[in-house]
Amino acid sequence: MVRGELSRSIWSATEGLFSGARPQCTRTMRLPYRSLQPAARFISTTPSRSAEITSENPELTPDSFTAAPEFEFDMEGEGESEVKVMRNVDKGKSNNQLLRTLRVVPASRSYFSAKPTFNDDFIHVSALLRSVATLPTIPNSEAPRVAWKTVDQYRIMTNEPVKTQRFHRMMHLVKRLNCVHPSLMPEHVRTAMRRFMKDSQPGDIVPVPQVVDEWGRARGVGRRKTSSAVVWLVEGEGEVLVNGKSLSQFFGRLHHRESAVWALKATQRLDKYNMFGLVQGGGSTGQAEALTLAVAKALMVHEPALKPALRRAGCVTRDPRKVERKKTGHIKARKMPTWVKR
């Protein structure tokens, strides 16, 4: 069976060699597979991008394919024909006209750093420093005292996750700007530095000077621990009233009585002023020492020259100590539980 096929095929092949061309019917359809198969055989995995610049030449039919023109690298206005030219011809559709010229761009040159405000600040400050770098300076200790913004305040202002190290690098430049000699400091530098200052500066709040009122009273307020005291001093014979009671009635301990009028005693004014005090809050020690401070302040209104003496007596400074809070894991503020083996 197989041998018969082989011999037949060999026979037909030899016949074909000697015979001439066989008559063939002419093809009506040339290359049919082109129309049958899909045009695009390569599927792109990336999203297709439409050409940015499109040129529409209606006379260019698919029959007349020509090679692309040669690159001319020296030509100046090269590619201008590709550029889609939009002329303001149609004025009826002016809305679309305006929309066709708009594009969206970042507001800052530092957009891609994700901290545009901070980076713009940094560039601005370093440019400022370069412009004033040759001016005479004063040492940092003599420079005007400024409370600078902290990292957190700056972060809140800019609403950007600024790195601490980067921020301090910028503040180093700002502090160098502050060291420019004040008589030569340009005004724009001063305004630029204001951005990095805290809203309230040291020395901004000046206390109003107290005066003796029309009845000859001087008022003083003092605090200690959790007590606060108000004292009115008038010139007199040395009468003392605290919350409507005499000193011995109000304070049981001798020490407390002494410390309440210590400011008068230390300056030997005990018999020259009448004192009326109101005190509230805290215990007796706190109340007594709150009275000390209040009396001293009221006395300084009458006689400002006594301030050094009062300071030496320790009556001018507010004692800032308060009860320390208790912490978790401690018995008191600092006391730890006793160590038990196992």
């Binding site: 002016s94 305006l98 594009r103 970042p106 530092s110 750093s113 901290k115 005479p136 008589s183 030569l184």
Partner: protein, 401 residues
């Protein structure tokens, strides 16, 4: 001849007082020194006099009087404040600064930043002077850079400056064309000291800069990272158009259209993200870097700040030229970029546009009737503006009603 010379010298020696001559060497007194000092002061005074005569009169150099200076030096210091001293110093510098010999052209570091070279100024001499040819030790090389390497010197690869110049010019052309078509060009140089070059290049090219760390995902996960950063809407003349703030809030974040990376070795993530998003990149490729990381490599030394400044400057200048071309085309009413999609005109702007269109139509009609008087046209425009204002007012009243 020699005899005559000797005789002349001898005569001169005899004419001088011999005792004075010898005393100078023998005596231990200091009076001769004082006289010489006086002479020098006199010379100084005469020089100053000459100088004041030639210089403009309003700021003559104050002469230095040694007697008053020594008598009360403290008072002089007290009377003259620091500001006065500084201004005096500046004045003197303006006068005296130019005196002296001319210095032959030399390298001044700030010139590369203040006045960077344009692509046309790129020469092999400039590149050689800025050490663009220095590669890395041969053991560190990436063989893909073989075609950019000229040879080996003392165990270090030397980059072919011809290749550098050619690639730099090609990259400059790319930057220029992208800038001309309104693309966002991002300059990245995150190494220490590259910040000024990067900022300057972006300033020239009206592009964007990055001199800190590239935050990974700024392109692939942009909405999370750049979502808070502000954008704006500009027209073809780069003027900001207000009123789109609410629409901008919902838009996707922007991506660069071209990234110029001055230190590709440290910014692999950035280049990878760009490659994923079909954003072309230009990079300075040293002999140890992989040139396939970037689209348009510039074989050069990325460790030299001077070389980086040259390259950044050239690309910045190219961008500047592209922006200039774009703006001149915009002046002629041609828009070279694809406008932003899905933008709606705010109502306030729409009314204005309509009014302007109406005015323009009116003026065109007038022109057709051969009324080309400029004054009349202006009157018409004024009228139209008044109409507009009137319309607005009428609308406001309606709203109130």
């Amino acid at each position: 001849m020699i005899i005559r010379h000797a005789a002349r010298a001898g005569r001169r020696a005899l004419a001088q007082n011999p005792s004075q001559l010898w005393r100078r060497f023998l005596s231990t007194q200091t009076d001769s020194f004082e006289t010489s000092a006086e002479n020098s002061f006199k010379q100084l005074h005469s020089l100053e006099g000459q100088f004041n005569a030639t210089a403009p009169i309003q700021d003559a150099v104050p002469s230095f009087d040694p007697e008053t200076a020594t008598s009360n030096p403290l008072s002089a210091q007290v009377t003259e404040s620091v500001a006065e001293q500084y201004h005096r110093f500046k004045q003197q510098q303006a006068h005296i600064g130019k005196i002296g010999s001319d210095i032959s052209p030399h390298y001044q570091p700030h010139t590369l930043l203040n006045n960077p070279p344009a692509p046309a100024d790129v020469t092999l001499e400039l590149l050689l002077a800025s050490e663009a040819h220095q590669g890395h030790a041969t053991s560190l090389w990436n063989p893909a850079n073989a075609r950019y390497i000229h040879g080996i010197r003392q165990g270090v690869h030397i980059i072919s400056l011809e290749a550098t110049a050619a690639h730099l010019r090609r990259a400059a052309k790319v930057v220029k064309e992208v800038a001309k078509r309104g693309g966002l060009v991002l300059f990245v140089g995150t190494r220490e000291g590259q910040d000024r070059a990067v900022a300057r290049a972006s300033e020239l090219a009206k592009g964007y800069h990055l001199f800190e760390r590239w935050i990974p995902g700024s392109i692939t996960n942009g909405q999370q990272i750049l979502g808070k950063c502000l954008t704006k809407v500009v027209n073809e003349k780069d003027e900001e158009i207000p009123g789109f703030e609410e629409q901008l809030y919902d838009r996707p974040v922007l991506r660069p259209d071209l990234v110029v990376c001055l230190n590709p070795l440290e910014n692999y993530v950035l280049l990878h993200e760009c490659a994923l998003n079909n954003i072309p990149t230009i990079g300075v490729i040293d002999t140890n870097a992989d040139p396939t990381w970037v689209t348009y490599p510039i074989p050069a030394n990325d460790d030299s700040l001077r070389c980086i400044q040259v390259i950044a400057g050239v690309l910045g200048r190219a961008g500047e030229a592209g922006q200039k071309e774009r703006l001149t085309l915009a002046e002629n009413g041609q828009v070279t970029y694809r406008p932003a999609e899905n933008l709606q005109l705010p109502e306030a702007l729409q009314d204005k546009e309509k009014a302007v269109a109406a005015v323009e139509e009116d003026s065109e009609l007038n022109l057709d009737k051969s009324l080309e008087d400029a004054d009349e046209l202006e009157d018409k425009l004024d009228q139209a503006r008044n109409h507009e204002i009137g319309d607005h007012e009428a609308r406001g009243i309606k709203k109130i009603d």
